[in-house]
């Protein structure tokens, strides 16, 4: 898989992924195949076998495939979620996966992605009125910015639940951010469980 991603062979990679999509859940494909493939790309860079230019190509191929296997619009549950990266954060694949997990459960997911300036994001959020706001950050330096945006959102969107994910959560937990309406999630499995709980009314 990593090989196809790095060569930009999206057709081969897509065939492989589609075979998996037939056999496994979207969650497993994202968490057990695509994520490790991208982490492996990172390891190859660390061992000086590829360059960042290769990482760009792998990311583009990966993004393309993810778009194609993204769940189609099914029966809606009437709930809405919005997804964005903290300002200047570009690592967006994990966030995109999270949006798909929500879609699979019948949510309307709006993916703002990466590189959107914050005031624009805030306007979008206020207009969209989401039930849940999902934010991602990968770089360790983003912690203060994430902290800041959580505070802003708590004030401007007091009714919305905020979910925080990405590499900073995966690696550092950031449990100190957890409170009534704010939850850190270190994996897509955790997201899925959370959604299941919401559906059964055990949690909001």
């Amino acid at each position: 898989m990593t090989g196809y991603l790095l060569e930009g062979e999206e057709q081969e990679a897509l065939q492989l992924v589609q075979k998996w999509v037939g056999e496994r859940s979207l969650l497993e494909v994202h968490e057990e195949i695509i994520t490790p493939a991208m982490y492996h790309v990172g390891e190859l860079w660390q061992t000086n076998r590829i360059s960042v230019a290769d990482e760009h190509l792998a990311t583009a191929t990966c993004d393309y495939i993810m778009t194609l296997i993204s769940p189609r619009k099914g029966t809606s549950n009437g709930k809405k979620a919005i997804f964005f990266n903290v300002e200047e954060e570009e690592h967006h694949l994990g966030l995109k996966m999270a949006a798909d997990i929500f879609r699979e459960e019948g949510w309307e997911s709006r993916f703002l992605g990466t590189g959107v300036p914050d005031d624009h994001v805030l306007q979008q959020i206020e207009k969209f009125c989401p039930d849940v706001i999902c934010i991602s950050a990968a770089l360790s330096y983003r912690v203060p910015e994430m902290h800041n945006i959580i505070d802003v959102l708590k004030k401007r969107m007091p009714g919305s639940v905020i979910l925080i994910g990405g590499r900073i959560v995966k690696n550092h937990g950031m449990n100190e951010w957890n409170e009534a309406h704010v939850h850190t999630m270190s994996s897509l499995t955790a997201v899925k469980e959370w959604l299941q709980n919401v559906k059964e009314g055990r949690r909001q």
Partner: protein
Amino acid sequence: MKRVEAIFPLPYFEIDAAWNIVAYSQEAEELFGLPDNLTKIVDEGTYDKAREWVDFHHRKTVIEMNVIKENSDVILADVYITWTDEEKAELLLIPKDSQVDKVAASLKTLQSELLKTKTELIEEKERAEQVIEQNNKLSAPFISLNKETALVPLFGDVSYEKMMSVEQNLLSAVRESEADELLFDFTAVGDIEKEGFNYLASVIKALSHMGLDLFVIGLRPGHVPNIFKWSLPEDVRFMQSLEQVISNKRTRRDNERIRQKET
């Protein structure tokens, strides 16, 4: 630690085996300030890589490293490393942001343009949907002709979505008015879709359960085969026009009056 003239106008460091910086170029100082040890400018995600490669056992090598500028931006650089002996290495850094970032930047602008267009399109779509919904709602106004009779002229095609948005308005208008006679006027109806018709039929059925007298008027020849094929509730009566309903009513009333007089 001393400043030296490098051969190239590029950031340059001389380090010892413990990564202490013994000499640096002016360009290095401009970019990184005056760190005393290389560790200070190595990004944490690059640390393990650097530990492996910035070491005497790779005598001459080049690696990509993420390094931290004095303003705490993290930049990517090709780092050329040459060990002159076990205690001294020369590092030449060629920042890559000028090359890669240019492409990345234009990609990014494209990407954000696309994103902007996409959000605009979504908003446009939502607005259009609202207009259609509004339009649909207005396609079956409720007009009280007098205390007991109301007219519902239908406009345009009878589609499922339209009938769905019409339903609420219609039912609440009926509830609020005292009319016990309702005329559905098909004069301005275009095509009748099967799903739309079935939905309308179910609304009409509900109204008939509420005890209303129901009439369909203004059917055009094109409508007739379908309407009879798909069938409306039995107690719905068909009349040619509004005048016919009214004149019928008048005759009925006159007859009643005559009967009352006779008894």
